[in-house]
Symmetry: none
Subunit: 177 residues, 4 copies
DNA sequence: CATGAATGAGGGTTCATTCAT
DNA sequence: AATGAATGAACCCTCATTCAT
């Protein structure tokens, strides 16, 4: 089952199936509902992102490098796959509680990666030890997200990756002791 | 007739009308379509928020006080009216371009308030003059938004306002020279 | 109550009222329903047409003159008041049985005028006595009507009245002994 | 799938679907809108009528036989399928310009069949050469139509086909030299 | 395993009608 | 008598889901 991320645009099952080159009914052999499909797709995309990310983080000792890595990878990933960006920014921001709850675990595991890094940085004496890692994560994730949203809104008129450096500088100052 | 801000819950016209205590058809006396309704509601809510906010900002000289005010007012407003928070966080984050374009002007005017304040702070020598006001705004707005989103997700289990102080401290450090 | 024929276009009550320069509710002081309104308007228009027509017919002895008069008056009336033509051609040709039944009496009285004239012509020895007056009337009325319909469809690109003469000639030959 | 010609009665999609023994949504697999449905049905019905009619006309040399054939076939067709009669008489006589324009081509092609026949008759020396074929067609079509309308109004209390003979006689006299 | 035609519940919108003023 | 804001039933259409092949 390879519904590559290359196909949401409109999120009607008919179009998703067409984009994936399969029949509508086929989707339901793998998934119980459209909601589950959205969740599975999100899990797949974000899950693989996290796996790769953790791989890279493991090779870094300094939490500051790790934070830099997270931010750059996040922006790069969205820039590479604008469709995924759209999905995350809009498609998944739905009032539908089933979807919200469904993606929560994956999102939480990403949040934990960030929070762990902050904790590590605090232990290493780089980051302000009085910071709530959760709140710091919220600022970081929210900031990246808003930068990405603006970029999508702007019709991708500029390089998203280029925002990483200055954004990183602000965040660093914000969380450094 | 003023549409009650709490007239949402679900976004079906029937339910919106019921919540507002009016008939479905009545809505269409004031609004041409559901999309326009969403936009009008957003304009009304955010517009009045901005008006009040600017009033308060005018009485402050120091841009640092202004930033603090913005963050606190934003969080307070959402906490006072959790329904509005839900609408902004989820209901309006839609792929629908009409809505996105419709709310863009109001959102932009809020963004300008923030960016002006940052600019002022740079002129006053408080904030890093090399910062892009736009990017700083993105971090601030994105951060606040994410804090609010988490709060909504948590079923409002804690005081949103209480997050203002520590969030503010991080942001200050992040944008200060 | 003067809802002159000058106002159907679209047949929504709101527009009819606006055209007549009165409020929507006012209509319901004179009429129980939209259907009744349509019927009353039709009665008024066609009724006055018949009255005038009979006046003129009374001054003619020869049934052949009378038939000529009917055809010319009918076409003239529709040409003078294209709005009435539209109403008769389309607005009133509805599946709605209430309207059909409601206008039936007026229509029938017009039919009787025509059939009486044919009968007279048969007695005068001008028209084929073996003809069914009803069938002859159907041919005449149907013919006029179709000529008028074509004219309306053509966006009134030519003079409707001008069709009277040649149409009359055909009909005459058709019903003459 | 062929929409049963008797799938009308009322023109609500729900009822049309029910009559045709299919679901509402199914209709929209074959047709983009209700208007298109009406047009398609008309095209189908009238189109096949014209095809059969032209087949028959081809075997006749004399334009007088052809006119007789047209009138009899027209009346027979409506009598066989009273539902079609209702549709043509009422359902399609709508102010809706989309439908009017949509059925215009089919209707026009029927008109041409009639007008060609008249032209032929004029060439053969049977019909008055000074007649406008268009006007003659209007009288013929309008006459048939009115006869059919009366019949439908009468709740089909008598044999429609029986009207063909006397109607034909009148029309013949009307258009003969 | 895969298909895609068929389904039908659900939702936005219109508009004839009412009724408090 | 007149108004017109409010009503809400009715209707067209969409689209997630099913199931016979």
């Amino acid at each position: 089952m390879i519904f590559a991320s290359n196909g949401f645009h409109n999120s009607q099952i008919a179009k998703i199936a067409k984009q994936a080159g399969i029949a509508e009914g086929t989707i339901y052999l793998y998934v119980r509902s459209k909601e589950e499909l959205m969740i599975r797709l999100f899990e797949q995309q974000v899950g693989s992102f996290i796996t790769v990310l953790q791989e890279q983080l493991r090779s870094m000792e300094d939490a500051r490098d790790q934070i830099a890595c997270i931010i750059h990878q996040h922006l790069s990933r969205l820039e590479e796959d604008p469709e995924l960006a759209r999905v995350i920014q809009f498609e998944l921001r739905q009032p539908n509680p089933t979807i919200r709850d469904g993606i929560a675990p994956v999102l939480r595991s990403y949040f934990q990666v960030i929070e762990q890094t902050i904790l590590l940085g605090q232990e290493q004496g780089h980051f302000d030890p009085t910071l709530s890692p959760k709140l710091a994560r919220q600022l970081i994730f929210g900031g990246i997200n808003e930068v990405a949203t603006s970029w999508v809104f702007s019709q991708k008129a500029y390089a998203l990756r280029a925002q990483g450096e200055p954004l990183l500088r602000m965040i660093f100052r914000g969380i450094t002791k």
